[in-house]
């Protein structure tokens, strides 16, 4: 009897196991291996652009130089990769006192001016007998020629023939140093809230003066002003190597309340629709103690201005390749605020020293972009600095800062970003699309253009070429490849066959119609 029971239990277990395996295999055998699935009926977010920041380096671009032309063409025309978002940095004035000259960065620094920023505010004019607000509200205390290189370069990019600039965002990493508690553009201590409440209005005046100059002085259309950058970070202490300002959630929310009022007044006076960009969160980590992204959003939600906010800008630094971190953030955002808030990814860079001339960081970039679009639901995607000047991978092109005729050397990151930005326009929709039963390292991001063409950015991070099975229903195919030997090069234009071979370590844009 015991033996029979044992046999019976064994058979039941074997059958259960077989059934599980059958079900598991059955669910994935709907498609052949490496099959590109495209479902045009499932539309997600509309894309609002690709960009990069002009912080630090743009102030060294000599006006009217060959460098200026080359950089503007490479970044903001279709001759280059056609970026559409220009991020101008409103400096905190660290140039005045040379705050970041070999300060905490050691051999990393090449130029004294490496991370210092110019400010249009004339510090020498600061009148101690008056309040900070009176000083910063006084137009006579501003001289925008101090940051002329950066301002003129922005104008060049936006006004050049064939410019692809659609959105200008003015962003600040720190208030002006005369407004901070530490008297510097970073905190004396780590996590020091460096903007005293009594200077909120003065800082607003400072930002509005810049906005006014760009709009009315340069005649450019500004989409938004981002007054706060990565507020949850420490931004203080001895190892500070760049401008930054820490804010507690309540402080951030209270400051935005003041700033939203200033912005409304500006818009009313100038007939503009400049928005507040909130809040360039340093990450989207819900669970990391230092993440705190949800706390900042929650603090803002208590104010009236929150009703006007429909987008949260975040940086992908915390968990750049984590699907879970992104999806938890989106899940929590939806649980708390429904579909009110969408997301823009406004900064990331490859934080590895050295100069990656190969595809390593470019493939990483493509993975981050893929996950930001697909898992975070990002509407736009921006890289940190457009150019880097030395042995670090924070730019997408290499250029000797300050040089008149310095060669603009695109990295593979530049070309891979082009795999997206040159083909996906503002208004294009991301649609359901992925590689089913994909080999490790194969993934796709799929967009649909208004004219019906499908853009597939296909990435193969593996070391072997992989034949991708293409869906039926498309007659023509063109392909642009970035790989070790190719820089966004057109490699195919013809009939859409049944398969497309993705080379090892490559990013390829397929245009299907």
């Amino acid at each position: 009897m015991k033996k029979r029971t044992f046999i019976f239990i064994s058979i039941v277990l074997c059958l259960s196991f077989s059934l599980s395996v059958f079900i598991a295999c059955g669910s994935s055998s709907e498609y052949p291996d490496n099959f590109l699935v495209i479902d045009e009926s499932k539309e997600y977010q509309s894309v609002t652009g690709f960009g990069a920041s002009a912080a630090w380096w743009a102030q060294t671009v000599p006006q009217g130089s060959q460098s200026a032309t080359s950089l503007a063409t490479s970044l903001y025309t279709d001759e280059g990769i056609g970026l559409s978002i220009y991020r101008y940095n409103i400096g905190g004035g660290s140039w005045d006192y040379d705050a970041y000259n070999d300060h905490g960065a050691g051999d990393f620094v090449v130029f004294p001016e490496y991370r210092n920023t110019q400010s249009a505010f004339i510090a020498e004019n600061y009148d101690e007998s008056k309040s900070a607000n009176e000083n910063f509200a006084n137009p006579a205390n501003y001289d925008f020629s101090r940051d002329a290189n950066a301002l003129e370069f922005m104008k060049l990019c936006a006004a050049q023939e064939g410019s692809t600039v659609e959105r200008i965002i003015l962003f600040a990493n720190s208030p002006h140093y005369l407004l901070t508690a530490s008297g510097k553009t970073n905190g004396e201590e780590k996590y020091q809230s460096n903007l005293p409440e009594e200077n909120y209005e003065a800082y607003c005046e400072y930002l509005i003066k810049y906005l006014d100059y760009v709009v009315n002085g340069l005649g450019l259309t500004v989409e938004s002003v981002s007054a706060i950058n990565e507020p949850q970070h420490a931004w203080g202490g001895d190892d500070s190597s760049q401008e930054g300002c820490h804010y507690e959630p309540e402080e951030l929310a209270a400051f935005y309340d003041v700033f939203s009022r200033y912005l409304k007044e500006f818009n009313t006076a100038n007939g503009t629709n400049v928005k507040m960009d909130v809040f360039e969160s340093g990450n989207y980590d819900v669970y990391k103690s230092k993440g705190r992204v949800m706390e900042y959003i929650y603090a803002m939600s208590k104010y009236d201005y929150f009703e006007d906010i429909d987008t949260i800008s975040v940086h992908s630094y915390g968990s750049p390749t984590s699907v879970e971190a992104r999806e938890s953030f989106v899940y929590m955002l939806n649980n708390l605020y429904g579909d009110k808030l969408s997301v823009e990814m406004s900064e990331i860079c490859y934080m590895e020293a050295g100069l990656d001339e190969g595809m390593t960081s470019a493939l990483w970039l493509s993975e981050v972009m893929n996950k930001d679009f697909c898992n975070l639901g990002a509407k736009s995607w921006s890289w940190w600095m457009a150019t880097s000047c030395d042995d670090y991978n924070d730019g997408i092109v290499s250029w000797m800062w300050g040089s008149e005729n310095g060669e603009v050397v695109p990295t593979k990151r530049y070309w891979v970003m082009g795999n997206y930005s040159k083909f996906v326009d503002t208004g294009d929709k991301r649609i359901e699309g992925y590689v089913a039963n994909a080999e490790k390292g194969i993934f796709a991001t799929v967009f649909k253009k208004a004219d019906g063409r499908i853009i597939v950015v296909l990435t193969n991070t593996g070391e072997e070429k992989v034949a991708i099975n293409l869906p039926e229903g498309y007659t023509s195919l063109s392909a642009w490849e970035t790989s070790d030997n190719k820089d966004l090069e057109k490699v195919y234009d013809g009939i859409c066959g049944k398969t497309y071979e993705a080379p090892a370590g490559s990013v390829t844009t397929l245009v299907l119609s």
Partner: protein, 205 residues
Amino acid sequence: MSRTPLPFFLVCVIILTYGRDNAVRGERKMKNVFEKPTLLQLLLGIAAGCFALVAFGLFFADAVGDKGGDGLPAFKIAFDVMIDGLHFNARAFIAYFIPLLCVAVVLPFKEKKVYYAAAFLLLAASVAIFLMREIYLSKYDAEIADMYRKGGVRLAVPAIIAGVFCLISSALSLLRGLAGVKFAVKKEQVVPGECTNENTVEERQ
């Protein structure tokens, strides 16, 4: 129930503790604390210890999470690096440290109370692990904690498993304590005095 030989680890402990020369003396001392377990006792002890060990191992897996997929491991709740430095959450640590302590139930203690105590502690640990979301949220103000609750933070699957394993381990520890206990059976007592033996009565007569 057949008797098992003295477990190998017991001999090792004696030799390591007292050295080869004093092994015999040491063994005598150890015998005051340990006993030779029956096979059932041994199996129950090992099973209880294993469940407790796995529950402790889940200290390094997510304790809280959400439907989105991300989460926070229990050890990061216990040792939380916050803005003003490292914060130690004693409740989170103790909840998972108890199962590690209770792995000792694999040892064949003579004193059964050890197993009852382990069963109680494991029960308490399981309750604490099941409350790990609240333990995690206790670092926030009530308002922020409520925001996270509404946001969807919940107990993660590994924590649920850890809690269940603690419960199982608790039950097994209890059984381990009860295994081999000879319960006294109440017998009907014969009232002395009046003799009911007819023969004796007859003899008296």
